[in-house]
């Protein structure tokens, strides 16, 4: 069954890449690996009969956002993590904080697993009920997006605008006009 193989390959790629993203200290590598994992994810999307989402994933995430990250990494050129002075007034020392966080994350995994185990119908094959043709069609997607979700769409556009202005204001040096 080839598609199962494809799925496992992509899933493994995504997870592995993500692990490596947080696994080493060089932000440059992290960015690239994250791109890889996004690619894998878009593969999964294609398998889920969402080609448009897949392409958008590549274009927006890998093509735009990640370039932005890359740009910043190169701009700041701070390739290594630097140890900062941790002021002592904190209730939790920084190292322990990291450990605590990791522990919490582990708990999260447990809980999510638990939630999944309680979820009904998780073993039914995806898309066994409905055909992927309609879901795959960009036309349909656009129709839904611009009719039922118009408001959300407009709201997001405003959000983007605000974010843009904010970014400009933030990144400007003090004193610059």
């Amino acid at each position: 069954m080839p598609e199962a193989l494809v799925f496992y390959a992509f899933a493994a790629l995504a997870i592995g890449a993500s692990l490596l993203v947080i696994g080493q200290r060089n932000p440059m590598y992290s960015v690239l690996l994250l791109i890889a994992s996004f690619g894998a994810l878009s593969g999964l999307y294609i398998q889920l009969d969402a080609p448009f989402v897949a392409v958008a994933q590549i274009i927006i995430y890998a093509g735009a956002i990640m370039v932005l990250f890359l740009f910043v990494v190169m701009l700041l050129n701070a390739s290594r993590e630097d140890g900062a002075t941790w002021d002592r007034s904190h209730p939790i020392p920084s190292t322990r904080l990291g450990k605590v966080g990791a522990l919490l994350a582990a708990l999260l995994v447990v809980q999510l697993g638990w939630a999944l185990s309680q979820l009904g119908g998780r073993s039914v094959p995806v898309g066994s009920r409905v055909d992927g043709e309609r879901l795959g069609s960009v036309l349909e997607l656009g129709r839904v997006l611009f009719t039922r979700h118009t408001f959300a769409f407009e709201a997001t556009s405003i959000l983007i605008l605000v974010a843009m202005v904010g970014a400009v204001v933030l990144a400007r040096r003090e004193g610059e006009a």
Partner: protein, 100 residues
Amino acid sequence: MIPLGHYLIVSAVLFAIGTTGVFLRRNLITILLSIEIMLNAVNLSFVAFGRAAGDMDGQIITFFVMTVAAAEAAVGLALIIALFRHRESLNPDAFTSLKW
């Protein structure tokens, strides 16, 4: 046909990885990346659910998440640049003092 559960498991694992990243890494950029991982994990489960339920909304939500992620990245990176100008550092622990 892949069972829905598999996708969900993948997304759960990705989410957990993102969370861990936020805590373990000491580099603002990497932390932002971890957040992106979480977002994508959620996206995956959305699309998977949508596919299983057979309607578009999963994909729609994914779009909105993407746009939000774009905005978040823009602002976040701008912040990082601004912060980096103040202290030549990207370590969140360097910015614990609430004003300087």
